[in-house]
Symmetry: C2
Subunit: 354 residues, 2 copies
DNA sequence: TTGAAAGCGTTACCAC
DNA sequence: GTGGTAACGCTTTCAA
């Protein structure tokens, strides 16, 4: 780092409600009444207080307020995601932020990298910071720890994945239905030897997608031994290697269902390396950036990520509002539809069909 | 939302230091000493206190602690970005989080959408929440407001863009040099009619890139009227339209320098629509997802986004640590190199070179 | 080595 | 209408 010059003009120092009260010539409580919009303050008095506040550039200390106040919130939400730099998660993040900002609520975000230990640590860190609520994409493993770590008045909304050993609001895509859709689409093109590439089996969505895949194949009575299934593909490099191996075998698949973002990218890389991208059909789960610029375009089952974020945030505030009114809502399970987006790769027919 | 079942087992209620003290049979202050690792506590006493804490599952209230403590931090950072779902910003976000987590610091993130009013509002919201520091990608407009809005003891580190009317640490890419590099690369392929497509001129990086572009052209003595420059392209759709128009003109450019992510995507769409992607060279600023899977691969000047985030976070903590030690660092300007990544589109030669 | 009391900046309660 | 005074959960000061 290269030094450049001196610090800018000095910035504002700290100032309390007491000084504002003195400046306005009123009691401390009257200032409090004015800033909180409480009744029983003469208009003239309120005016003087507001002037004093303006003059002194005072802003109430939220932390001190919340100390005494019980039913007041900190105006913060904790968001736990696979990783903030995953495009799917980032879209969810943005949608949640857009809902939260209308409520003057700030959002903490934390990346979990599918690590259960990190999940617990992140939840604890947010609870320590007194977030009003938690929205979380849980990693593999049990969520039973939440019962002892999260105070009963802090709502939890799960997003993208259903929790284990814990019941709460959940907002997620129709992973099973989407996978059935994708697989049927390949079957409808005449494919029978379809390979399925999946993420870690312990991840809820991964399991759902695998189930949908097998279910659709079963519908068509596709022979089970003609259906290579590879699981635990956690990187696009691993997916690429798996695809290369599958395609090198004597009874190579004529189509591939890649059940996740990174896996799809690995598969496309593999096909390209072999020059077979116009030869082997691909349908991916999760949309892929610039999928329409690739040749052939990649056919995917796209999730409504922004909808998911918005819905989860709405639900969070609904619940928070309900509690404010003394009510309590029953946990809900919201399943969002997915969309089959045909771009070419999924419409390729088997080379030697018959 | 569909109701599913009852609430999970009741979660932990609130518990204070006083109850821990009673449980351990010690004074309140002794508990405080133990949790803060202060000296002068008998090992046996400390043991009993720790047991009581464990038994009661007590966690100190950070907000209450910080009320009395003056030099202690809240353990939070405010991060202001163009948008959390922009891949470049998301990479920065993740890198910052990775540094912060080692310090037990949580990160608030906020999207600005290039809106100066939103920038001010977001900074104020974070200051109100008593963040320890602010890392920000400023939008167009002046940053002079920071002097009156941010307390003098809250460090500010600018990332990606240099601020206006304000001096503080800055971490950014060599936008000018990178643009010179990109443009020279096109010139070296024999191109002379090179179009430059840019974002809003008021954005610092955009201006820098434009300057680099023109500077490189000037070096080669390229005729100024042969250099169409389009600015204020804020969406990929706008960039696509601009490219289509340029390419339809009688003296269409043989190469395009697209000075930003979304602009590059728009340009590639336009070329594809015209079927001229193997005909017109393109070099983009900012890397593009899957740029290697497109045909031809997109040549770009890539920024080291993760490095930027890490460097900014490191600098923030350096400054925070220095202040803790009573020292003060001079503001620094850190410029990170960029990398020309050749993938094909930038190596195309002009169709009728002469 | 320990703890009682004062204080941090605000809101709640209750008298004026 | 208004303003003391206690209280929030913790740290700091200081006396024991």
């Amino acid at each position: 780092m290269t030094p450049v010059s001196d610090r800018p003009s000095a910035r504002r120092a700290r100032i309390t409600i007491r000084e504002v009260a003195r400046e306005a010539g009123v009691g401390i409580k009257t200032v409090s009444r004015v800033v909180n919009g409480e009744p029983n303050v003469a208009a003239a008095t309120a005016g003087r207080v507001r002037e004093a506040i303006e003059r002194l550039q005072w802003e109430p200390d939220a932390h001190a307020s919340n100390l005494r106040r019980t039913h007041t919130r900190t105006g913060t939400l904790g968001l736990l995601l696979g990783s903030v730099d995953n495009p799917f998660a980032a879209t969810i993040h943005r949608a949640i932020e857009d809902v939260a900002i209308h409520r003057d609520v700030a959002v903490f975000a934390s990346s979990l990298d599918e690590d259960p230990a990190r999940e617990v640590a992140a939840v604890e860190a947010f609870v320590r910071r007194k977030v009003d609520g938690l929205i979380l994409t849980c990693s593999a493993g049990s969520q039973s720890y939440l019962a002892e770590v999260v105070p009963p008045d802090v709502p939890i909304v799960f997003i993208d994945r259903k929790p284990s050993d814990f019941t709460a609001d959940t907002v997620r895509s129709d992973n099973l239905g989407g996978s059935v859709l994708a697989t049927r689409h390949l079957l409808a093109q005449g494919h029978r030897r379809i390979a399925g590439l999946f993420d870690r089996a312990a991840i809820w969505t991964s399991e759902q997608r695998r189930e949908g895949f097998l279910q659709a194949l079963d519908e068509y009575g596709a022979p089970a031994d003609a259906v290579p299934v590879v699981s635990d593909l956690t990187t696009s490099a691993a997916a690429e290697a798996a695809a290369l191996q599958l395609l090198a075998s004597p009874d190579a698949p004529t189509a591939i269902f890649s059940a996740q973002n990174l896996i799809t990218i690995g598969v496309v890389h593999a096909l390209r390396k072999l020059g077979r991208q116009h030869d082997v059909a691909v349908v991916g789960f999760d949309d892929v950036e610039l999928a329409d610029l690739i040749d052939p375009g990649i056919t995917v089952v796209a999730q409504r990520a922004a909808d998911m974020g918005r819905t989860a945030a709405d639900r969070m505030f609904e619940r928070l509002d309900a509690r404010g009114a003394g009510a309590d809502l029953p946990p809900a399970d919201c399943v969002l539809p997915v969309d089959l987006v045909c771009r070419g790769s999924g419409e390729l027919r088997p080379a030697h069909s018959g």
